[in-house]
């Protein structure tokens, strides 16, 4: 009895699926999906040449690079983008000493909300404070950057590709897709999901920041540096994670061998 019901139920679901399939297939044939401007022109993100120092299981952050990236962030990105999950004290990890951190923090005004009086006061930043919110006057809402390297497919490579990927819209785009005109105020960038990004090109020319360590501030260099810095803000424990991982795996490999030897010994006299 149960088997008869079951066969009927199977037939029911199969017919319903066939019905859906038939409808879908007929519209697929009558109106085959056309390529969209995104499907044709969106490009997969590529990182800087030679990759980043923190890639791979032995990866380490390059503190000099992170400091340069931090400089790019503060001089360029910070105008619109906040960094709320990062505290000034965290900068110790990228090689700043206590006095330097104190000086960096003191440049920021950190708001303090008094829930009793409703007053908002500000104080000069101290090491324990987080980077304060950024008031942005324009249209839209620039995302907080603390986690951006983990919040986008491709991570730091995506950030690098996006920063270096601004270009005029290729002429053939409009030939193929007459509707794909860049909306007012947006900018063409083949690495951005819908190809039109609100953020104007932030790193436009060599020497936009001047590095203290003498590195030549090309657009590629600045983009790579700030991408690396944002990877650090998103995953500050990356280095510790790699460093802890190897001994743990080594130990487990050793345990695996012992467990296997023990298993062989236990079963030595038992055929199975």
């Amino acid at each position: 009895m149960i088997r008869i019901f079951s066969i009927l139920a199977g037939a029911f679901f199969s017919v319903a699926l066939l019905w859906s399939f038939g409808k879908g297939a007929s519209s697929y044939v009558s109106e085959p999906p056309k390529p969209t401007v995104e499907s044709v022109y969106h490009k997969h993100a590529e990182g800087p040449e030679g990759g980043f120092s923190f890639e791979g299981a032995f990866g380490k952050f390059d503190k000099q690079q992170l400091q340069r990236g931090f400089q790019v962030y503060t001089e360029v990105c910070a105008t619109c983008h906040a960094l709320k999950h990062v505290a000034f004290r965290d900068l110790k990890e990228i090689g700043y000493n206590e006095a330097e951190i104190k000086a960096i923090a003191a440049k920021y005004k950190v708001p303090e909300y008094n829930a009793t009086t409703g007053e908002v006061k500000t104080h000069d930043g101290v090491a324990k404070d987080h980077f304060p919110p950024v008031v942005y006057g324009g249209q839209g809402s620039p995302p907080d950057l603390s986690l951006i390297a983990k919040a986008r497919h491709g991570g730091p490579n995506y950030i690098y590709a996006l920063l270096t990927g601004y270009q005029p819209q290729p002429a053939e785009v409009l030939k193929q897709f007459p509707d794909a005109k860049i909306p007012a105020g947006l900018n063409w960038n083949p690495y951005f999901a819908n190809l039109n990004i609100a953020m104007p090109q932030p790193l436009v020319s060599e020497g936009q920041v001047s590095y203290k360590d003498g590195t030549k501030p090309t657009v590629e260099q600045m983009s790579a540096d700030v991408s690396a810095f944002l990877m650090w803000t998103a995953e500050p424990k990356l280095e510790k994670r790699n460093q802890t991982g190897w001994p743990v795996l080594g130990f487990l490999l050793f345990a695996m061998v012992l467990a296997y030897m023990s298993y062989r010994t236990v079963w030595a006299d038992k055929k199975h």
């Binding site: 149960i2 088997r3 079951s6 066969i7 139920a9 199977g10 037939a11 679901f13 199969s14 017919v15 319903a16 699926l17 066939l18 019905w19 859906s20 399939f21 409808k23 879908g24 297939a25 697929y28 999906p33 299981a57 999950h85 965290d90 995302p143 603390s146 986690l147 983990k150 919040a151 986008r152 497919h153 991570g155 999901a193 998103a234 500050p236 424990k237 510790k240 994670r241 790699n242 802890t244 991982g245 743990v248 795996l249 487990l252 490999l253 345990a255 695996m256 467990a259 296997y260 023990s262 298993y263 010994t265 236990v266 079963w267 038992k270 055929k271 199975h272």
Partner: protein
Amino acid sequence: MSFPWAKEYTPSHPAMVWLDEKLPLPRFVYNAIGAGYPVPRNLNYFWNFGVLAGFCLVIQLVTGIVLAMHYAANTGVAFDSTEHIMRDVNWGWLLRYMHANGASAFFVVVYAHIFRGFYFGSYKAPREMIWLLGVLIFLLMMATAFMGYVLPWGQMSFWGAKVITGLFGAIPVVGEPLQIWLLGGFAPDQAALNRFFSLHFLLPFVILGVVILHIWALHIPGSSNPTGVEVKTESDTVPFHPYYTAKDGVGLAVFLFLYFAMVFFAPNALGHPDNYIPANPMSTPAHIVPEWYFWPFYAILRAFTADFFIIPAKLMGVLAMFSAILVWFLLPWLDKSPVRSGTYRPTFKKFYWLLVIDVLVLGYCGGAPAAEPYVMISQIAAMYYFLHFFVVIPVVSAIEKPLPLPFSITEAVLGKDEAATVAPAE
């Protein structure tokens, strides 16, 4: 119940004798997973996954309780408290990555355990109750995993909560009030987050309880084995300890190696980048997908794209998705083959591997965007899924001619001649 030749617990130390009289806990453990539990001698590595699943549950309980010491179930700070764990709490990053990847590991192990059961007919009499409890554990795991994924209150958390509770909205008449009741509001918000946290904390202990019943039910008929032939004599079995504790030790070490390789070197590989964006009720991510372990079922849900007579497509999808799991409850009664193990069922075996491929295809389509050709592929794959359980299993089991079975486990292991010397037929 146990086999008459099961070893009896005989404590020698006076303290253990005393304890055994007052509270025979050591005896209980001895008979459950010690030398007092005779187990077929021919279990292969697929029989490791039960113990591994139990281990995963322990990992999740321990890391989860610890994470709950730092997490705050409040929509205003849930995301930040998760980042606080990742950045400031001592070893917080490790504990969170262990918990997130632990969920994936748990599902990998449990899927292997379930498909072991499908192939070797572990659901068949006299082990129906073990199977039913197992499917119940799987359902509880799905609920727990879903609610846990909501807690960080990222974009995928929020939209996952919205979409999955939306499934209940498909139920005629009571659907919409039910959905609102589940969420405690019209969209996921404080009320939903707080109750999901409470239930996410509770359900693992419910799972633990059902796991204990699952193991209890297992000890009544004893473990099944790759031949599917029941235990006949003592020579068919070995004591669980040390034989299978040693073998499980190997499985556990291999499992932990792979698991920690994920935790330390690819902790976000199975996650979705959008969940590092705080929840935003005003903007849906371009491509929402559940975690990978829900993909096959998600593909089935999405495969129903057209209304079927009076049944709306949405309801069909929900109905089908739940049926796809609930049919497992009926499996012991749908499969009437007298032969348990797939090894001796040539036709069944072919369909079994087709099902494995089918589920992988469904999984792939479930993770892909809701666009052609993935929808059409998942429609075909979902059709096979239903045909397999509802039609192929009952029909094949009725008409298939199985291969000859070995007389006993001992014979299967040692060959006829040697077996005769160990266990003479009575």
